[in-house]
Subunit: 405 residues, 4 copies
């Protein structure tokens, strides 16, 4: 046992090949369509890029090997997902974007063998996409998941689900659904949720509209969805009844980290773009990149990237040890999301008028990373959870007679 | 002499009427078109709104009374422009937006009687719009105005202007131009610029393309423009030859402040929207607006708005005393532009998923204010100028034998 | 009515004379004793300096004219107190420091004619100092004044006060006391406090110990005090029984602002010291003051000083109009206290090793301003109050049917 | 090869024993003397504590095993030094403080066998302390080491050193010196420095005065020193002539990291103290630790501690791989130093009046960590170095034809 922060040659090679693929194939497409994946072709484009990624041996690095993936653990995913994230189309191209990657991860851990065959197999191979239906419009489940209002009641041979969801990423065109619904208690109660699997053509699932947002790189929108008497047979209950919040945790920790990995790619790319610009742009009697205030922004980007990476490494290691890692993932997520906003903001500022224009992709990349401070738990909720645990720890120490002096 | 921070009843009444007009007439149009003034009708819409504003007695509050304006000084402009700025279409509706307002201000101070008749009269009344052609693509005049490369050479009876400009706001459809060109020295030299007036149909003026940016509320784009042998007769030289930088200063100080006033309106509106949301939205066992971390964002917005307002008041007072107020306007501009970004960011964060969606206007308003940290001099350039003056002052004190202990 | 930010010639002259006195007489003493007013002579020094200040015609500029002061309103106090604050001994020298200045202010507003003769007269003239006994150790009145536990019960011809206080500034050597005690309700209840006046030799007042703090410029310590059956006759009740919180507000708004004024002097002085240093210190091939990262710190100081000053001007104007100005004083206090910490921190950083050494006064001045983020209400409490009012306002608007769009 | 962030049982046990020793033996002494190591006994105390640490088997964990140390690499030092740093007397007690620890590290790498016997042996065992004489008063070597003015000229059988140094930690009472002097070129030139070893009784070494600073935990002061014709024989030249800057780098990277480790202990302790306080202190109708604004400070401390730790882990790993790790150590040092200031500031704020008082150690611990943003290279110099390397890298990529899009 000794600290080791190296990656195997296989992983390093995979990172290289991913970078090449992103640079040669994906980035040109993204720029051509100003980062709008739907405008660029949506699911048609996705299938083409998935096929090319498979040919390049870099498809779905996180998916189980038995379903055609590369079976990487969290630590090894990190540099690969970041390389893919250099293009906002990269996650779709390699089929490692939200919510599919998190759904694959959770199904691999929780699904029954039959569910794996029926749902995980087509999802992991990219035959279909998926949706994870948890968030609801006010006053339902949002930053506070206990507010869950969508409910399921027993029906012969299964359950009937009713409710309204919002910000359901990838809903339009999803081939399968994971639906979070209350099976016990009232909105506001802790616990009592169950996860249900459903094919897209299940009667009663209605994708009502897109909720358009700052970001444009996810396929299938962030949609408003209504479930009206959606019938789910018992065999499509994921795991145990009433244990949905527990599985959500299985999913959310790693899903947060893969979000960090992917958006790290955006931040690295923006930093490289800004560096390239200031290293040559003239002004005030020299190059911008040699001016102190610009140097400060450059250095702060370097520090923010390094700190996010270091926190991500720590969180992935803990997850790979089988730990819940609630603190570590909250910290890496919160720090990373805020760092990415700062980095993109500095990059825009360093490039001046060009930075806020469409002549460079920085303005739209800034819009792409902004929502991450809200998605997957707003920074405030993570801070609240971190503080609650810390204060609780202090109270236990007090009760145990520990003195701090 | 005693500190007085009150406004006259006439100004307060004008503010009220402006608010009413913006709320009843302008905001609905802005929201209908998601803040895209071109999509909403461009110059056609402008003429309609201008007519209604005239009817309401609130048109062009800054323009000289002799040309149909209300003749307000800077201090009195402040609350009126802010009221107009509550809608991103407000400045166009009241004809007090950039660059027209600044051009009217400068022409009123510098133009000859003949130039006033020919250029200021139609501009002040809204018959035409205008462009101010100063900024150039790299390596020309940008944050560093001394890098000016567009040049004018003597020609019989006047001057011939050649050069390329970029980010020329309102260029497309402008009825008149103010062109900054070098008449002495080389790019990088201090001084040596002259301002030229030109009607839109002057041969050799070519608006080549829009440089699309984050913001969508200014009419006529931020354009790339080429001047090819543009002939300007001697009578259309604005003020004295070689004194262009001096007039630019006459224009820039007030123009910076009116930018602050207008964007202050956006910030106030966003704050009101977010307050309205958190005051009622439930979560974590209560209303969001009663949670400490949300309260902190609310309070920081209140502080940022108050500080910007107080700095603006100071700068306007100094300008109204006939002072150059370089420090005061740099400080109010820099603080304000950064405060607006912070405020919009907090408002987005307070509203969570809705904040980053098009269901609320906050995401696009955040994009609307972001460029102000670059327009009219990036924050870094203002800080550099502030520091140069402060350090220079310290050196003079040292030379004069002043001791600090 | 029109915005006016000028001072009368009388005030400007008073500022000049104050600066001269501070520079010639007070600063050398402060530096000689490393800012420790007790070590420098305590009350003995105070009396000497007060006599000199009287001779210079600058003593107690805030005190009523009838008691030998200059009778300045809040607006006019501002530049004078700031000039005095350039030395941490200045407030003692001019008798305008806490808590005396605030006590004079409150007595002038609330005391009966007899109380003025007995208490205000000797206090205003500097014959004695005073203490304001409000803050208590946990779980008593601190940031939350409603937690008040010191109580007074009726006794023949007056009241008996019992309780413990902490952080009572100037307690050691105070000639008179203003004691806040509960006369109704329980700790935690709103209202129900009364203010009692008491001479220093009243039996039962015990100054138990100094609570040593970061700051060293206030005379008489921040002390722990016990009141044991302190008898106060009815004629020494200040104002009405049970109205103590209301009078505390009368005192606190202005007292907060004069704190800002005084510490502004410290911040201005530190900025001048750091500017003087970086303007000449060589490093990295030039002067430090010409390096971008130093320029950024210089400019941020300039911005922070200007913003504090502008907010202070606004708050003082409102107070002078007879308004409560709760928001304005909270904002100026919170912004100012945080700005002073930032400014001192930047000054220390600009001066490097010297900045953290006793070869310059910056390290101790940083310690002098730090507590202001806690004294007179921690920043968090002011933010909480600001947010409560803002959210309450939004709720009223909602109830009134106002729509924000 | 795979990411591993675990420590061996031996290291974990050493950490435990270090914590116990610090808590039982060292912290009580520190608190008794308000953190002033000289007042607590200086070198006499050091010898006593060193003896106890040896008895506990925790003395000098970084020193070579052959000289009685535990021979830990950088990664393993990290948790041990942090445990020692919980008391500001801990580094002296375990003989792992600056500058001794860095000097031991450098001598172990660079000294000749004879030099090791003569200098490293007594230093590693704690028989003597040492000084590292590099920093000079203006205009000499400070943040910019190339400004070195102390110079050495050839003398028969050795060198004669002349010059003035400042902020020489531990100078008073040091048993040996490492002196950096210019042997080639002029002040401002890159390179040309040599390191000289000298016993304390070498004629011409004069410790002139203490430069008192914010921090009180280092023994032997931060002194001003004059070297007058100090003769150093050839055998006491450390390594090669003119290679001093290179050896300084050998020393500085690890020395920066051990600074981070030690001050991390202070930050952890302060955080634990503040948590203990807010977890029980009542206010505003509940416990402070359950209020949102306090929770935000708690969470930000957790994030800052985690990020510093993660960056430190990365930098130590790189150093242990034998790499120069200039970026990694600059980032960990800069982030850590700034984080510690933020953490201490939040802890003070959370504890209110007590936080700024001597009733808790927070105010003095805040003063203890503040200078680290200046010591070992100010943050600005590290940012400048980081930016220079980043911009240089970008220029090389440009030259190599790399395109960023």
């Amino acid at each position: 046992m000794a600290v080791d922060l190296s990656y195997s040659d296989e992983v390093l090679d995979l990172v290289d090949r991913t970078r090449t693929f992103i640079g040669d194939v994906v980035l040109p497409l993204e720029n051509l369509h100003a980062g709008d994946i739907e405008a660029a072709g949506g699911d048609g484009l996705r299938r083409e890029l998935n096929a090319q990624a498979k040919a390049a041996g870099i498809f779905a690095p996180h998916a189980p090997v038995e379903f055609g993936g590369l079976g990487l653990n969290m630590s090894d995913r990190s540099p690969v997902f970041t390389a893919a994230g250099h293009s906002t189309f990269g996650p779709v191209a390699l089929h490692l974007g939200a919510p599919d990657e998190g759904n694959v991860h959770m199904l691999a851990h929780v699904a029954s063998p039959e569910q794996k065959d029926r749902y995980l197999q087509p999802l992991a191979t990219g035959e279909i996409r998926s949706a994870f239906a948890m968030t609801e419009p006010a006053p339902g489940a949002g930053a506070d998941p206990n507010a869950l209002r969508t409910h399921a009641v027993r029906a012969p041979g299964g359950w009937k689900v009713n409710g309204v969801k919002r910000f359901i990423t990838g809903a339009d065109g999803a081939g399968m659904w994971i639906i979070m619904a209350r099976t016990r208690g009232e909105p506001g109660d802790r616990g009592g949720a169950t996860m249900f699997l459903a094919p897209a053509d299940t009667p009663g699932i209605s994708v009502d509209r897109y909720v358009h947002t700052y970001d444009r790189g996810m396929i299938g929108g962030h949609c408003e969805v209504t479930f009206t008497d959606v019938f789910v047979p018992d065999e499509d209950v994921l795991g145990e009844v009433d244990e949905g919040y527990r599985y959500a945790q299985v999913r959310l920790g790693p899903a947060r980290m893969t979000h960090v990995m992917r958006w790290m790619g955006v931040a690295e790319r923006a930093h490289a773009l800004a560096l390239d610009y200031v290293s040559e742009r003239e002004g005030f009697g020299g190059k911008l990149g040699d001016l102190g205030m610009i140097q400060q922004m450059v250095a702060d980007n370097e520090i923010d990237l390094a700190a996010t990476s270091a926190l991500l490494t720590r969180a992935c290691y803990e997850l790979d040890q089988g730990r819940h890692a609630a603190n570590e993932t909250s910290i890496a997520k919160t720090y990373g999301a805020e760092a990415f906003s700062r980095i993109l903001d500095r990059c825009v500022q360093m490039c001046g008028g060009l930075g806020v224009s469409e002549d460079m992709p920085l303005a739209r990349l800034a819009n792409e990373v902004r929502p991450f401070r809200i998605y997957d738990g707003p920074s405030e909720v993570h801070r609240w959870a971190l503080a609650k645990r810390a204060v609780g720890r202090a109270r236990k120490e007090r009760d145990a007679g520990v003195k701090h002096v």
